[in-house]
């Protein structure tokens, strides 16, 4: 068991490309930390620097009390589960799990006892004598985990361990990993590009974009108080809606109508300037099914609904809108950052399952203005963020350093 502290970690490749730039993350002892971001954000590189498979260009990597920058992987006492499992195909499941123990020179009885313990935990008992080639994806995944838990490692590292499994199995294994980690209480760093895994597994989540840490916070904090457009767009499914907005006298003008802004938020945004409003789909509702008590807390507007997808417990309504060029440009850039390809000039609204709104209707929609965020279209910063409930936002702690890191990333991306 040990805490992992990353201080101003930098990874530059031979051509000067900064894959990871000035990232500081402190993983507490026993904590489940998620590194998340779209492909190319440096999350796997960061993980490989923790385990020692990748050199650290600059900064300090401290595990427990030791600075491990110059230690070989085997001297760091960490266990890692690889994306493609990396099982040894010439060895049986038993020997695969026993491999780290054999290398450590454990006695046969000790090996046997520990392997059997691990296989029991992971329900691999009847597969111990088989070769990895004969196992299913989920079983291989469990063998890879067995190889990790059989040692008394200081921490577990997972590199997108579920990305090769089908959707159903992924859900099961996700719960399995969460349960295992809680039971063993071991420090865990888990890399994923899937925001669902990030939200469900992590005690805290570090969101990375092009090698720069955007926000480090609990899933709830990330969801309710995203630091910027990128985090807001990345966390949540279906994603947050982004609309062009202008604030006038305490109200926000949106393409569909005017919404009153709560006072604490209204005070923080400039008047008359073009902004981007971010509203999550579930903060809209069919005005007909909203409680009267709740209704006054938000505003309503009437608009034409293009498509409705009814799922039983809820329904998604799609409402197209026209966006300003400035806003559209920023949103297109955001889509590129998020690896997406959909053009988001439509509003996605989550309605109650009992809503009667149908396609082509002119519907009255209620919007909860309390949960709305306003973003600066130039920098992407969240202007209405509640910093006390947003975890760590590096850009707010040291704006200059963060800006320099962002610039370096953008320059590198432009080349």
């Amino acid at each position: 068991m040990a805490a992992i502290t990353m201080k101003n970690i930098v990874k530059k490749y031979g051509d000067g490309f900064p894959a990871v730039n000035d990232v500081s993350i402190d993983v507490q002892d026993g904590e489940f930390m998620i590194l998340v971001g779209p492909s190319g954000c440096g999350k796997s590189t960061l993980l490989r620097m923790i385990v020692g498979l990748e050199d650290i260009t600059d900064g300090d990597m401290v595990i427990g009390e030791r600075r491990v920058n110059d230690l070989a992987p085997r001297e760091r006492n960490l266990a890692m589960v690889f994306q493609n499992y990396a099982l040894y195909p010439h060895l049986t499941v038993y020997e695969n799990i026993a491999f780290p123990l054999r290398l450590a020179g454990a006695s046969d009885e000790e090996v046997d006892q520990k392997v059997r313990d691990a296989s029991k935990t992971l329900e691999l008992d009847e597969h111990l004598e088989r070769k990895p080639g004969n196992l299913s994806g989920g079983q291989r995944q469990r063998v890879a985990m067995g190889r990790a838990i059989v040692r008394d490692a200081d921490a577990f590292l997972f590199d997108e361990p579920l990305s090769n499994l089908d959707a159903k199995l992924r859900g099961q294994m996700r719960t399995e990993i969460a349960r295992l980690q809680k039971r063993l209480g071991i420090t865990t760093v888990y890399v994923t590009h899937d925001q669902t895994e990030a939200m469900t597994l992590g005690d805290r989540v570090a969101v990375l974009k092009r090698g720069v840490l955007q926000q480090l916070a609990s899933p709830r904090e990330l969801y309710t108080n995203p630091a910027n457009l990128f985090v807001a767009g990345f966390i949540g499914s279906p994603p947050m809606n982004f609309l062009p907005a202008t604030v006038q006298g305490g109200s926000v003008e949106l393409p569909f109508g005017t919404v009153r802004l709560p006072e604490d938020k209204a005070g923080r945004v400039p008047e008359g300037k073009l902004l981007i409003a971010g509203i999550r789909p579930e903060h809209f509702e069919d005005a007909a099914v909203v409680d009267d008590a709740k209704r006054d807390l938000g505003s309503t507007f009437t608009t034409k609904v293009d498509v409705v997808e009814w799922l039983g417990n809820e329904a998604y309504a799609y409402i197209p809108f026209e966006a300003d060029d400035a806003v559209r440009e920023q949103l297109t850039q955001l889509e590129r950052d998020l690896d997406g390809d959909t053009m988001r000039s439509q509003l996605v609204v989550s309605l109650d399952g009992s809503s009667q709104i149908a396609e082509g209707d002119d519907a009255e929609i209620w919007v909860d203005a309390r949960a709305m965020h306003l973003f600066d279209p130039e920098t992407g910063d969240n202007l209405t963020i509640d910093l006390d409930r947003a975890g760590r936002v590096p850009a707010k702690e040291d704006p200059e350093a963060a800006a320099a890191a962002e610039h370096a990333a953008e320059d590198a991306a432009a080349h």
Binding site: V51, R74, M80, A86, L87, P89, F99, L103, G137, R140
Partner: protein, 277 residues
Amino acid sequence: MKQKIGLGVGLAAILVWCLLPVAWIISLSFKSQDAVSNGSEGFLPQPGGGAGWQNYSDVIGDDQFRRAILNSIGISLIATLLSVVIATLAAYAIARLEFRGKRFVLTTALVIAMFPVVSLVGPLFDMWRTIGIYDTWLGLIIPYMSFTLPLAIWTLSAFFREIPWEMEQAAQVDGATSWQAFRKVIVPLAAPGVFTAAILTFFFAWNDFVFGISLTSTETARPIPAALSFFVGPDPFSRPASLLAAGAVVATIPIVIIVLLFQRKIVAGLTSGAVKG
């Protein structure tokens, strides 16, 4: 159905093409010397013209022949072993490391493999005489290795490239040194490649005639293909054809044994199951 018949006919043709000479030499080895001298027609020995196992016991009883077989086995095995060990290490470096002149090493290796054997015989003869390894095992092992290493390196580096990097990294995270990772994970996974390279090397060394006859002068190092050509028998004017045939058959037996042994190890798809589904 038509395809199957075609396939059968094709296979039969290939088998006859390849195996007829072998069958003929076996048939020859069972005929007596006199019968061969008088012209023994037909595949099977004619009545009274058969020699039974006599030719074989004569061949095996011959000191010169036994010595040649021993030379061949020793030289070929040592050359194979050294070649495979060196090629494994070299191929691993080529597959895994980025170093200057990597392409140069690979192309040079290929050029050497394509070099005509005969053109080297003269210089080697002179050199070996000067440094004193003419007519020794070493004098044959060195050229065999230099001709088989390139092929072995190419074969093995292709195998190493197929092995996912993660296997080795996983081993290192599990607590292995680079050497342990190589020995316990990479080499077992590359086993089919190692055995392929071993077979190729052994064949080359075993079948070589040019070096064998030019770089040796006595039976201390003369390998079997060269020795057979010196196998004259009692009468220099009538070559003991049936005895030679028996010798040739005996000389092929080690090759057959080696192939059967190694073939089991060359199990394709050994790496399946290493990574994802």
